[in-house]
């Protein structure tokens, strides 16, 4: 029975291009205080464009209504639980938005004099210090823009170290439970990918890892806790195996929300790792980004970090570009500074003890959900859960209902779906990560919803197969979208574009 939502009307809204009319304006510029110049004269006829065909022409009130109306078609953390496994969708404190807009921070130019950027530098230095302490690593770079970018940075660091030692090696070992960015990253860094099968309990199989490890292997990319939400109990042994053969261990830190204040990768043999500040440290996802993929390393990898690094000169911070072994820059300037501000504000709000308590509540929520749902959904791997738990649609599949269908039905119940069909080692996975910022009431409603859907599967599978029913947009046809891609608006008639 649906307890959490009620249908209500929402406003329809055309595309901006469809509500445009020639001459409508949403802007005004101050009058020019210098002589106007003729573009064609100073730039040359051939360099000056005609009007921007099809570009919007709307007023201010139409603009705010357009985006306000569209926003009401979205689900969001501010509206409820967002249990996407592996995504750590936690509450985004609003004070972080406020401080990130502090004028002298938001309007700081990356090339302004260092002497006039000491505040920005201090913020980055303090965040680096906090992240090193949290991970137990020796140095941190804040330059990567997201997790995958951090992975690339990290693998390049490994490769540069190995090259310096004389052999960059050929392969990276990656468990079959890993996130897609891991193999994609290894490939971008010029490495072949060798998959490591998980064992019956969903952990890295130590024997096959040992077998796979040799001098052609640059290292291992491991996620801990892994994508099942299970802590790799043999992690110390695993890192020893890699190190023994001269390899390095990269840890995908996307799941750090299970470890902060409890255990530190630096203490269990990790050489390099990334953090998703937009997960563990609560910077808003904003419908897909921005993020920050800070990378933390042990001493031996520090010389290879992207330049510039910050250094102390007397009582001032300064940038150091003189780093001969550096892999170079992975993006212009110093990173997603505005995101870094938010992450530091988050850390300051919790403090060391608060961060630990947040981790414990996150793990509590995941274990509670697991316990409550185990009678209704198949739990393929039984190891203790950390911050998330992964069920399979095994029982429901017998009725022809798959994880994707259950996910859509969950929408009617007022929740964003869990992560669907990942990790790949679980057939028909329901991957659930509640995070610590969910209260008991919200979690109980979520559990009730999934139990109720399990019952619907028994009594009326069709009902689930055709969900959702309460959304303004019913089940979306993604197949057609991919078969004949229409990725931009065009004036009617010529609307659709042919794809090869």
């Amino acid at each position: 029975m649906i307890l959490k939502t009620t249908p209500h009307l929402t406003q329809n809204e055309p595309l901006l291009f469809e509500s445009s009319s020639p001459g409508k304006k949403g802007y005004q510029l101050p009058a020019l205080d210098v002589p106007a110049v003729d573009a064609k004269t100073v730039l040359g006829e051939n360099h000056v464009r005609e009007e921007i065909e099809g570009f919007p022409e709307v007023s201010e009130v139409e603009t705010i209504r357009h985006f306000t109306r569209l926003s009401t078609w979205n689900y969001a953390i501010d509206l409820g639980l967002y249990p996407l496994g592996s995504c750590t969708m936690k509450y985004n404190p609003r004070v972080n938005e406020l401080v990130a807009r502090t004028e002298a921070l938001a309007w700081a130019h990356p090339y302004q004099p260092e002497s006039l950027s000491q505040g920005a530098l201090e913020i980055m230095a303090e965040l680096e210090r906090c992240l090193a302490e949290i991970t137990g690593m020796d140095a941190v770079t804040l330059q990567p823009a997201a997790g995958a970018h951090g992975e690339m940075t990290g693998i390049m660091l490994m490769r540069s170290l190995l090259e310096k030692r004389g052999d960059a090696r050929k392969k990276i070992l990656i468990p079959d439970s890993a996130h897609g960015t891991n193999p994609a990253t290894a490939h971008m860094c010029g490495y072949a990918v060798q998959n490591i099968a998980s064992n019956s309990s969903g952990l890295v199989d130590v024997a096959s890892l040992e077998a796979a490890m040799d001098e052609t292997v640059a290292g291992l990319m491991i996620t801990n806790p892994n994508t099942l939400g299970v802590f790799e109990e043999n992690i110390v042994e695993i890192t020893k195996i890699i190190h023994a053969k001269g390899g390095l261990v990269y840890m995908d830190g996307a799941n750090m929300n299970a470890l902060v204040g409890i255990a530190r990768p630096g203490d269990f043999g990790i050489d390099v790792m990334h953090l998703n500040l937009h997960k563990t440290f609560s910077t808003p996802h904003g419908g897909g980004g921005p993020g920050s993929g800070a990378v933390a390393v042990k001493k031996h990898l520090e010389p290879f970090l992207p330049y510039p690094r910050m250094k102390r000169e007397g009582d001032q911070w300064a940038f150091n570009y003189d780093l001969p072994d550096s892999i170079g820059k992975v993006r212009a300037f110093y990173g997603n500074f505005g995101v870094l501000v938010r992450a530091l504000a988050y850390i300051m709000a919790h403090g060391g003890d608060g961060l630990r308590r947040a981790t414990m509540d996150a793990v509590l929520n995941a274990n509670y959900i697991r316990k409550m749902l185990e009678p209704y959904y198949d739990l393929p791997y039984k190891k203790p859960s950390m911050h998330e738990c992964v069920f399979s649609d095994d029982r429901q599949a017998k009725k022809g209902v798959r994880t994707g269908d259950i996910a859509k039905r969950l929408i009617d119940y007022g929740f964003h779906p869990y992560t669907v069909s990942f990790p790949l080692i679980v057939h028909g996975a329901l991957m659930i990560e509640p995070t610590e910022t969910e209260g008991k009431r919200e979690i109980d409603l979520f559990v009730q919803a999934l139990i109720s859907i399990a019952e619907e599967v028994e009594t009326d599978p069709k009902m689930v197969l055709n969900a959702p029913y309460l959304t303004r947009t019913s089940r979306v046809d993604e197949v057609t979208a991919a078969r004949k891609p229409i990725v931009r608006w065009k004036p009617k008639a010529t609307a659709s574009i042919a794809a090869d």
Binding site: L15, N74, P93, V95, R331, M348, L364, K383, K440, R488
Partner: protein, 436 residues
């Protein structure tokens, strides 16, 4: 802790269900030797008022209220108030990547509009939902060209933003993608077509040029494209100043456009977060990196949008993906979308014309280093005195001057790059002129 929505009694109820006696019990299965047996060395949790004070205090150690003439890839432009009104709506701010289309039509629709407007601005047929920034979009464009052409060499103009070229080098070094640079005409400051032609070969996958280039000079994309195409290479056009597209001929002859939209209501924010884009021709759509939103229908036959062609992406293709990018810059791209909606067709042109006028007023009387046509930036000779000295003089007047070029172009160590936008007031520009 105010962010943890549980009372103690709720905690113990839940622990009981889990069969755990305490929160610590939940971690009892962790090997003893991996556990942290001390508290983290991070100060106690602070109230929101102390947090605000801390960042204000840091901000006080940064420049505030200085008129600035810095550009060089990051530009000061007015920021319509509506931008924050929109991106502050929780429904946009706190939503995830729109994988579940039925409850993400808001985000999906705005991305579809974004992709469309980027196409309209650049003259391309397809644009993605955003890249990390302009600099990382460049190597992604290069790799795309390599996949398309089956060749591996990249030719880059030295007038492409130096940091963008550094990023390209970092990406390229480990994947056997040799990079060669070609020069600029020291008269005009525009790319040296002869040098380009000389270096072109049937090994070259892409020629990368920027317009307006790092010196602010408007490049002849048509000519560069003609040369590249003659040798079967693709032309990648880079832009850092999106406002120029309001006035400049779009790079229709380019095959791939890689750019930075920071100028569209995205605060400088000490270098990020920004929003990069990649746009290209329809025929290359399956090689484009990053997310794409497409139009389709729902089961009731109504127009709907969803993420599409995800078989290009890492979560499906893994090591065979067109890129490893996952999280992008969605909310920042939304800022640019709102900006484009507020300014619109006429506004963007008027804005570009104001920038042109301001820069030409600033240039008037200053010793220009290059003769080529420029948009809102120009290289100025400091005849005798070092650029740093001129900047010192300006700092005395609480004005931040230009970027000394010696760091990136030894041959231009006596020059600085000055930028003037609609925000620079005439009086301050006069002060800058007097400093020379």
């Amino acid at each position: 802790m105010r962010y943890l929505p549980k009372s103690e009694s709720e905690r113990s109820e839940m622990l009981e269900v889990c069969g755990a006696g305490s929160l610590e019990d939940l971690f009892s299965h962790l090997p003893a030797d991996v556990k942290l047996n001390r508290a983290l060395d991070i100060p106690d949790g602070k109230s929101e008022y102390e947090i605000v004070d801390y960042f204000r205090e840091q901000a006080d150690h940064n420049a505030t209220g200085y008129p600035s003439f810095l550009g060089a890839g990051v530009y000061y432009h007015y920021r319509p108030v509506l931008v924050d009104t929109v991106v502050s709506r929780g429904e946009f701010l706190t939503s995830y990547t729109p994988y579940q289309a039925e409850i993400a039509q808001g985000t999906l629709t705005t991305i579809f509009e974004f992709q469309t407007m980027v196409c309209q601005l650049t003259g391309m047929e397809v644009a993605n939902a955003s890249m990390y920034d302009g600099s990382s979009a460049v190597p992604e464009a290069a790799m795309m060209a390599v996949r398309i052409t089956g060749r591996d060499q990249i030719l880059t103009s030295r007038t492409v933003h130096p940091e963008y070229r550094e990023v390209l080098r970092t990406y390229a070094q480990h994947q056997g993608m040799p990079i060669t640079e070609f020069g600029y005409d020291s008269e005009s400051g525009a790319l040296d077509l002869a040098d380009l032609e000389a270096r072109l070969s049937n090994q070259v996958a892409a020629v990368i040029v920027q317009s307006p280039n790092f010196f602010g000079i408007v490049e002849d994309i048509k000519a560069a494209a003609a040369l590249a195409h003659k040798h079967g290479a693709l032309l990648v056009m880079v832009f850092t100043e999106a406002v120029s597209l309001g006035l400049l001929e779009p790079p229709r002859d380019a095959d791939i456009v890689a750019g930075e939209l920071q100028s569209f209501a995205i605060t400088p924010s000490y270098g990020g977060p920004f929003a990069g884009i990649i746009a290209t021709k329809e025929k290359f759509i399956r090689q484009i990196p990053g997310r794409l939103v497409g139009e389709t229908k729902d089961s009731r036959g109504n127009r709907a949008f969803c993420l599409t062609l995800s078989t290009r992406e890492q979560h499906i293709r893994r090591e065979k993906a067109t890129s490893n990018i996952c999280t992008n810059q969605a909310l920042i791209a939304l800022m640019a979308t709102v900006f484009m909606s507020v300014y619109g067709k006429e506004g963007l042109r008027e804005l570009a014309e104001q920038n042109l006028a301001k820069a030409h007023y600033l240039a008037d009387g200053l010793p220009k280093r290059f003769a080529g046509p420029f948009f809102n930036e120009l290289v100025v000779k400091c005849n005798g005195t070092a650029p740093e000295a001129v900047n010192e003089k300006l700092l005395g007047k609480k004005i931040i001057g230009g970027l000394p070029l010696g760091r990136f172009y030894p041959e231009l160590k006596d020059c600085m790059l000055l930028c003037a936008t609609e925000m620079n007031k005439r009086g301050h520009m006069d002060e800058v002129k007097n400093a020379f």
